[in-house]
Amino acid sequence: MSSDRELRKGSAETIILALLEERDRHGYELAKLIDRRSDGALTLHVASLYPTLYRLERRGLIHGRWVERAGARRRRFYRLTADGRKTLDAQRRSWKAFFTALNRVAKFRHA
């Protein structure tokens, strides 16, 4: 049970880090991107998105700052830190290994 939750939490973190690798984004944008790029298969709404962001920020993997634009409300933009980049690389490798293994065992792809 706990590892299932951890798995979901972990994948959310990896996804956010990956999206922030492209450029700085704010929370709403992240939510929309995840929804759109996964064709609605993955959804991160407010209740889980922001805790994840705060957790990542706490661990120094991302950094948030308020940006004010003329005529609009201020928004909080998140940027990937150097540590975040390293973690993302490591997680990508792990997942890749995991998928390769999973595929070898469970034969997802046709031969």
Partner: protein, 894 residues
């Protein structure tokens, strides 16, 4: 546009973070909701539905608020550095819950680890309580570091320490300036009458200054003071035990008179339970008054104790005492030449004998604990291996290594805490057994208890035992690349779990081997010692004691009369083959040395000849079946009025007449009683040596004299030995009755078979040997568990390998041989290291061994065989399991 700020705030409720930060969070979420709303409205959704949709994710408001706050909390903490506690406590709480869940889920692992730790910790707690009671716990005296005992010894025989004489004590008291006060005690056996039965109680006649010197406050009433030395009513202070035993702990006893020695003694106080000066068996203290007047300077049997003045060092006091000793030797050359007096801390006196055994026991339990830890560590390594997948996934998902380690540590500490709790229960039970069955001659052993310091010690040991085994697996697991671990875990590829676990097992076996060698050597020593012929026939002999004291037996002849009458009565009890009397029962009583001279053979000034004086009845040698080597034995015709005759033992003959026949030689005693000392005592025979001080100690030069010819008044203790036709215990009652008819007021005590007396003389050794062997067995059992676990793991990892081998034609027997071979390899490596360890440490055992070399080849080989066989046997079950594998299933399962 609606005020999302307010709507969000309302839905979240209070946030458990810094208020400024809370505002930020609300701001951010409100912006999100506003964006969502705007998009939905643009998509054509009615305004009201768009608001509801945008806010829907926030509806489980308390949960969301909690999630947010939890995710954010450390940031809040960073703003308020003083408030780090809750998060750590929360983490710890979570870890504990998680650990409990895991342990419950693996009941087999948890149970074995728990029992292993409990045994290791429990054994340590028990032995520590003994060490604490016997050695570490300060005696109940005021400022005990300043209390010293006076130990007298002849300079030519440094080992023979004895007590002090009254005249010497008086001179010390008058001359020494290093001491605040001095006290003196003379051991005394009190016959208490006026109770249901006459009772014999061992106590002391003490100077009033003794209590002042020791400084222990009484439990009830008062202690003795120097005023009590003056003539007047006899007064006595009771020890706690005798107060409970004879007077049922009645507080009204204070002020009442008790008949002791035929005179009323007024009880003035009761001492607390732990007050036992000078030894455990002392139960009451009567004022010395004039009871000891006229004791000669060479009667050195009083315990003297002094309290150093504040700031005076022991060496300073010793130097002053040395000068005084020299002055006394010059003034009294006949009695004081050659004597040295040494000061020793009161705390160390009496435990010198127990120290090596306790040290060995502490070492042994320490080893048991180490083995237990190694065992748990190797189980954890195995578990960490099977938990690699979990570890790898958690690492991949971003769990920090510190978190993982702290969680493992929590798991182990929890295990150790449970083990420690169980261990305390074991210690409680063990201490009970120790107090009930431990040897009576280890001082303060009966005070052994599991108390606060013992619990503190146990807590520390438990923490160490919890943390130690976790280190190896944690380091191992964390060093591995998580990607590799994941791959392996998922791919199910066999890996060498082996090295860490194997190493631990080898260490375990080496430690157990060391312990087993020590246990084997001690066991062999004990067997050798038990097989020692004491020189007398101890079977079917009942022994009993009397203390013939004033007023009933004031003169020497009154005492002799009792002995004569007793022998007569005892000899006529049906079923009694023979009865005899002796002043000091072999292996049961201390013997007393007496100075003598040999006619025509003067010694250099300052030199003295000393031999044990044993007053016996003529029947003694026949009753005890002690062999006559030369000359004649004593007969009933050797009476008070006939010529003085004695027998000597072989040790005496060897020492003083190495090249001559002692028979016909004459000796003169120096007792200070002229009518006794002037008469020549002619040696008429030589008897063989017997064991008197201990089965492991040679007999001292000794003289056996007819009790009828004794003329000095001391030696009031007399033992009777009665050879019976059947079980000696069955005669206890009739023998007692026979003596009661002579004097109903005379207490008779220690009515026990001689066999028991002999067994008691080796009780301490039996006890420590038994314990060390118990620990060795425990160590071996733990090792077996360790080997079983490690080999089981090894087999599990090699399942596929074994399947392949079998598919390729390996026979089941070969597979079994392979597995057992692996276990043997580990075991033998451990045995080899253990041998080296034993060789290096066995010298520490020397003082405990008897007639066995510290590295006795036969013992060591047998132990090595046992340990190796244990290792092989422990591997047998996994080996069978391996050989029972079906190769097809194994390969398919892959």
């Amino acid at each position: 546009m609606p005020d999302f700020h307010a709507l969000v705030r309302e839905r979240l409720g209070p946030l458990a973070v810094d208020p400024a930060r809370a505002a930020d969070i609300v701001d951010e979420l409100a912006q999100h909701a506003a964006d969502d709303y705007a998009e939905r409205v643009a998509g054509g959704l009615p305004e009201r539905e768009a608001i509801a949709a945008a806010l829907a994710p926030l509806e489980g408001r308390s949960r969301v608020a909690l999630e947010l706050a939890r995710a954010d909390r450390p940031r809040a903490a960073a703003l308020q550095p003083a408030d780090r506690g809750p998060s750590r406590a929360a983490t710890f709480g979570r870890d504990v819950r998680y650990a409990v869940r895991l342990l419950v889920r693996a009941p087999g692992f948890s149970a074995v680890a728990l029992v292993t730790l409990a045994l290791g910790i429990g054994a340590n707690a028990a032995i520590f309580s003994v060490v604490r009671a016997v050695i570490l716990r300060p005696p109940p005296y005021r400022d005990p570091a300043r209390l010293v005992a006076f130990l007298n010894s002849r300079s030519e025989a440094p080992g023979s320490i004895t007590s002090s004489s009254i005249p010497d004590y008086q001179d010390w008291r008058n001359r020494l300036t290093s001491f605040e006060s001095l006290g003196l005690l003379s051991g005394w056996t009190f016959n208490i009458t006026g109770l249901d039965l006459p009772e014999r109680v061992f106590g002391g006649r003490v100077t009033g200054s003794l209590f002042q010197t020791l400084g222990t406050p009484p439990l009830l009433g008062r202690v003795l003071t120097p005023d009590d030395d003056r003539p007047g009513d006899e007064v006595v202070v009771l020890g706690y035990r005798v107060w409970q035993r004879l007077f049922s702990g009645d507080p009204a006893i204070v002020g009442r008179a008790v008949m002791m020695e035929g005179r009323p003694h007024v009880v003035v106080g009761v001492m607390p339970p732990r007050f036992r000066f000078p030894a455990d068996d002392t139960e009451l203290w009567a004022a010395i008054k004039d009871n000891m007047n006229g004791m000669p300077r060479e009667s050195r049997f009083m315990a003297a104790v002094g309290r150093l003045r504040p700031g005076v060092a022991l060496v300073t006091a010793q130097a002053e005492l040395d000068a005084t000793t020299a002055q006394l030797a010059a003034a009294y050359p006949a009695t004081n030449t050659g004597w040295r007096v040494t000061l020793a801390g009161v705390q160390g006196v009496g435990i010198a004998e127990s120290r090596p055994a306790l040290a060995a026991l502490s070492g042994a339990v320490g080893l048991v604990l180490l083995i237990a830890c190694a065992n748990v560590a190797s189980m954890l390594v195995a578990r960490a291996t099977s938990r690699r997948r979990e570890t790898a996934i958690r690492l991949a998902l971003g769990a920090s290594r510190a978190r993982l380690v702290s969680q493992w540590l929590t798991e182990n500490l929890l295990l150790a805490a449970a083990g420690g709790a169980l261990g305390v229960a074991i210690a409680f039970a063990a201490v009970r057994l120790v107090v009930a069955y431990g040897p009576s001659d280890v001082p303060r052993l009966d005070e052994t208890a599991v108390d606060i310091p013992v619990l503190g010690f146990t807590l520390m040991v438990s923490l160490a035992a919890g943390a130690l085994p976790a280190i190896a697996p944690a380091v191992r697991a964390l060093r591995e690349s998580s990607a590799l671990a994941l791959k392996e875990a998922v791919g199910g590829i066999a890996t060498a779990h082996g090295r860490g676990g194997a190493l631990l097992v080898v260490v375990e076996i080496a430690l157990a081997m060391t312990l087993a060698v020590a246990g084997g050597l001690l066991l062999k020593s004990f067997a050798r010692l038990s097989a020692v012929d004491p020189g007398f026939d101890r079977s079917r002999v009942l022994s009993l004691k009397v203390f013939l004291s004033p007023p009933r037996y004031r003169s020497v002849s009154e005492g002799k009369q009792f002995i004569r009458a007793a022998l007569d009565r005892l000899g006529r009890v049906p079923g009694v083959e023979a009865a005899a009397a002796i002043s000091s029962l072999p292996l049961g009583d201390p013997s007393s040395g007496q100075a003598f001279t040999i006619a025509g053979r003067p010694v250099a000034p300052g030199q003295r000849r000393i031999a044990d004086y044993r007053a016996v009845s003529a029947t003694y040698f026949d009753t005890m079946r002690i062999a006559l080597v030369r000359g004649r034995t004593l007969t009933d015709d050797d009476r008070e009025t006939t010529a003085r005759v004695v027998l000597v033992n072989e040790a005496m003959a060897r020492t003083f007449w190495p090249d001559e026949n002692p028979v016909g030689q004459a000796i003169h005693w120096s007792t200070g009683y002229p009518q006794f000392d002037t008469a020549p005592h002619t040696v008429v025979g030589v008897v063989s040596d017997i064991k008197t001080l201990g089965l492991d100690k040679p007999d001292r030069p000794a003289v056996y004299a007819p009790f009828t010819q004794r003329a000095f008044p001391w030696l009031r203790w007399t033992s009777f030995v009665v050879r019976t036709h059947g079980e000696p215990e069955a005669y206890a009652r009739v023998v007692r009755q026979a003596l009661v008819t002579i004097d109903p007021q005379q207490p008779i005590y220690q009515v026990v078979p001689l066999d028991t007396v002999v067994a008691k003389s080796v009780a301490a050794r039996r006890f420590s040997t038994g314990l060390i062997d118990l620990f060795a067995a425990l160590a071996l059992a733990l090792c077996a568990v360790g080997v079983y676990g490690t080999i089981g793991c090894w087999v599990a990892e090699r399942t596929r390998d074994i399947g392949v081998r079998m598919a390729l034609g390996a026979s089941r027997r070969r597979i079994r041989a392979m597995v057992v071979g692996r276990a043997l390899a580990l075991t033998m490596a451990g045995v080899g290291i253990g041998l080296a360890l034993s060789a290096a440490t066995s010298r520490m055992l020397v003082t405990l061994l008897f007639d066995v070399k510290p590295f006795d080849a036969a013992t060591v080989s047998v132990v090595a065989l046992i340990v190796t066989a244990t290792g092989a046997a422990a591997a047998y079950v996994p080996a069978r399991r391996a050989s029972a594998l079906d190769p097809l299933t194994v390969m398919r399962g892959e």
